[in-house]
């Protein structure tokens, strides 16, 4: 029983960060209809920013996090402006392949610059975990959960309570009408991609210190992000949040009770199963942002 509770705690922590990943991608995939293969790289990028800022520049951990988010935002905007905007209107295959090219180039860049040896980031939290009865959780993980939750709330408010968010939702529903209503669609696309990328970077910045940092870490993150988006429905933020927790739960239970080697396979299996049996996702209401 206590083992189950422990899995539950782990699931909450993991689920929160997965939710961030998923929300980021569902915004991009949902609003822009771009199969964003660079999402995983942004995750890796966020983690490496933490490494540079905390380990190499010696800056405070808590300051480094917003820096990583902003850096992710900037990189995302750069990608959108240089690669996606010129391709607007091309067929989806071309965009996908360009994203793959960018992924390969950037990941190889990370490998070239930092090498394949895993890096770790020192955190300002005490080593000893917080013990609550039969379960224990490290302070770092608690912080991650809190930070993730906060970011989810902020994103939710952004999408549902701000003018920008309103414009994003309008563009998602009908791009042409939105632009006729005065929405600057170009700006919305760049903003969406930047926001989505910053969320991925945030997830990487949060999880990087928990585990270790290496150039290919984003690959699995990317697939999990896709699994969450497919689970929750395209453009559906709430679905992405729930999907994130479902994936985390599946991974925890799978690793705990089946085999740890197949832990990462959970994401893939979910994708395949959902697409075969219920392609619109678990949450069948019409897809929309928010």
């Amino acid at each position: 029983m206590s083992e189950f509770l422990q899995h539950l705690i782990n699931m909450l922590v993991l689920g929160g960060t997965y939710a961030l990943l998923g929300i980021g991608l569902t915004l991009i995939f949902g609003i822009m209809n771009v199969v964003n293969f660079t999402h995983g790289v942004l995750y890796t990028f966020g983690a490496y920013i933490m490494f540079i800022v905390v380990q190499q520049l010696g800056i405070n951990f808590f300051l480094a996090l917003p820096l990583a988010v902003v850096a992710g935002w900037l990189l995302g905007a750069a990608i959108e402006l240089t690669l996606l905007r010129p391709l607007r209107g091309s067929d989806i295959d071309t965009t996908m392949l360009v994203m793959i090219g960018a992924w390969i180039a950037m990941q190889s860049g990370a490998l070239w610059i930092w090498g394949g040896v895993a890096k770790s980031v020192a955190t300002p939290f005490p080593e000893a975990p917080l013990v609550l009865g039969p379960v224990s959780v490290s302070w770092l993980r608690l912080f991650v959960l809190a930070a993730a939750a906060m970011l989810i709330v902020v994103t939710y408010l952004l999408i549902n309570r701000t003018k920008l968010g309103c414009a994003m939702r309008a563009t998602f529903q009908d791009q042409d009408t939105a632009s006729l209503m005065g929405v600057n669609v170009d700006l919305i696309y760049t903003s969406t991609f930047a926001i989505g990328s910053s969320l991925a970077a945030a997830a990487g910045a949060l999880l990087g210190p928990v585990y270790v940092i290496f150039p290919q870490m984003g690959d699995l993150a990317a697939v999990k992000a896709f699994a969450i988006v497919i689970l929750g429905g395209l453009g559906n933020i709430t679905g992405a949040v729930i999907g994130g927790f479902i994936l985390a739960l599946a991974e925890e239970l799978g690793a705990g009770y089946v085999s740890s080697g197949y832990r990462d396979a959970m994401g893939f299996l979910i994708i395949i199963a959902v697409l075969i049996f219920k392609p619109t996702g678990l949450f069948a209401r019409s897809e929309r942002v928010g």
Binding site: D93, G101, F268, L275
Partner: protein
């Protein structure tokens, strides 16, 4: 005219071992040839059917493992206390089985592609390949996991009256790979020019219209997937018996990307495209190795893919064909090389 060029090319390739003595380059040529066969099979799906299957390496790897395990033998336990023991069979049987089983997997993927289209299809195929990789990594009893299957026997061909010929040397493997590549090229060429090829093309160009004249989407896509997967499986088998060691890294996504870059750069939807793209990206790493680390090379390859998609989206071969073809239409797009060439042959 085209067949003249083709024959010359084959003769040129066949003559290479007569003057090339460097075993390192020979090795590069052989593995390049194997990847070209894989790229040709990917082109069948990507270029002629319009299905972006990014899990293609799964068929290659499955072919490699099936062939290796068939010729090595194995002893595994299954659920419910069952145990399967397989004694080693001749590698040539492994080759055939690799094609069959990879083709079967292709069938499953084909069925899936009918239900799940576009971006989702891409994601599913990637997932499929990753699941296969994880199985290869974790089912250690069967696959030896990361410790790899080693000492895979070379292919042995029985020559009537002359006894068995074991293809162990680079020279022998070179000609084996060349033969399989030529056969593959001919097979795909015939397929593309047949009524089936027209069905594939119709589906790719305008599915609703194709369906209205009686083209069966499921059957066409599935058959294309089966043939494509089978060819990839054959390539995987050749790889296993040449390199003679196979580990789960054969399923790495980067290998699919390699084939994709070969096809896109060379020209998807053209028969010669994968060959040209394959030669470039198979041999470039060999020549760049002394001056550029592999990671740096891959930064460049990623960049090349992007640049090609922006500047030369149809790839090298179709763009060259367009440059030299008779001006026949005011429209910007020109039919892919396979059809343009055939028209030139018949109506010249």
């Amino acid at each position: 005219m085209k067949s003249g060029v083709a024959i010359l090319t084959v003769v040129a390739f066949a003559s290479v071992p007569l003057w090339l003595r460097d075993p390192y380059l020979m090795n590069a040529l052989i593995t390049t040839g194997i990847f070209i066969i894989g790229a040709m099979s990917l082109n069948l799906l990507l270029g002629f059917t319009g299905q972006l299957s990014l899990g293609h390496i799964a068929f290659f790897g499955i072919g490699a493992y099936v062939s290796a395990l068939t010729s090595l033998g194995f002893d595994v336990g299954l659920p419910f206390g069952l145990r399967i023991v397989h004694v080693p069979w001749p590698p040539i049987v492994g080759f055939v089985l690799a094609i069959v089983i990879a083709g079967l997997c292709g069938y499953l993927v084909g069925l899936l592609s009918f239900r799940v289209r576009g971006a989702y299809f891409v994601i599913v195929t990637i997932s499929f390949a990753e699941v296969v990789r994880l199985v290869a990594l974790n089912w250690v009893e069967l696959t030896q996991g990361p410790l790899a299957l080693t000492n895979i026997p070379s292919i042995t061909i029985g020559l009537p009256g002359l006894g068995d010929l074991t293809l162990r040397t680079k020279l022998q493997n070179y000609y084996l790979v060349l033969s399989v590549a030529v056969v593959t090229y001919l097979l795909i060429s015939r397929l593309v020019h047949s009524h089936f090829g027209r069905a594939m093309r119709g589906l790719m160009e305008n599915e609703t219209l194709a369906v209205s004249v009686g083209i069966d989407v499921t059957k066409t896509l599935t058959l294309a997937a089966v043939i494509s997967a089978g060819i990839a499986g054959a390539a995987g088998s050749l790889y296993a018996h040449y390199i003679r060691i196979i580990d789960p890294e054969v399923f790495a996504f980067i290998n699919t990307v390699t084939m994709v870059i070969m096809v896109i750069t060379g020209g998807k939807g053209s028969l010669a495209g994968p060959v040209v793209g394959g030669m470039i990206f198979g041999l470039l790493p060999v020549f760049l190795r002394p001056i550029m680390a592999p990671e740096a090379q891959w930064i460049a390859y990623g960049g090349v893919l992007i640049v090609i998609l922006f500047v030369l989206p149809r790839g090298i071969v179709p763009s060259l064909a367009q440059r030299f073809a008779k001006p026949r239409s005011r429209a910007e797009t020109v039919a892919p090389v396979a059809f343009a060439e055939r028209d030139a042959k018949e109506h010249a």
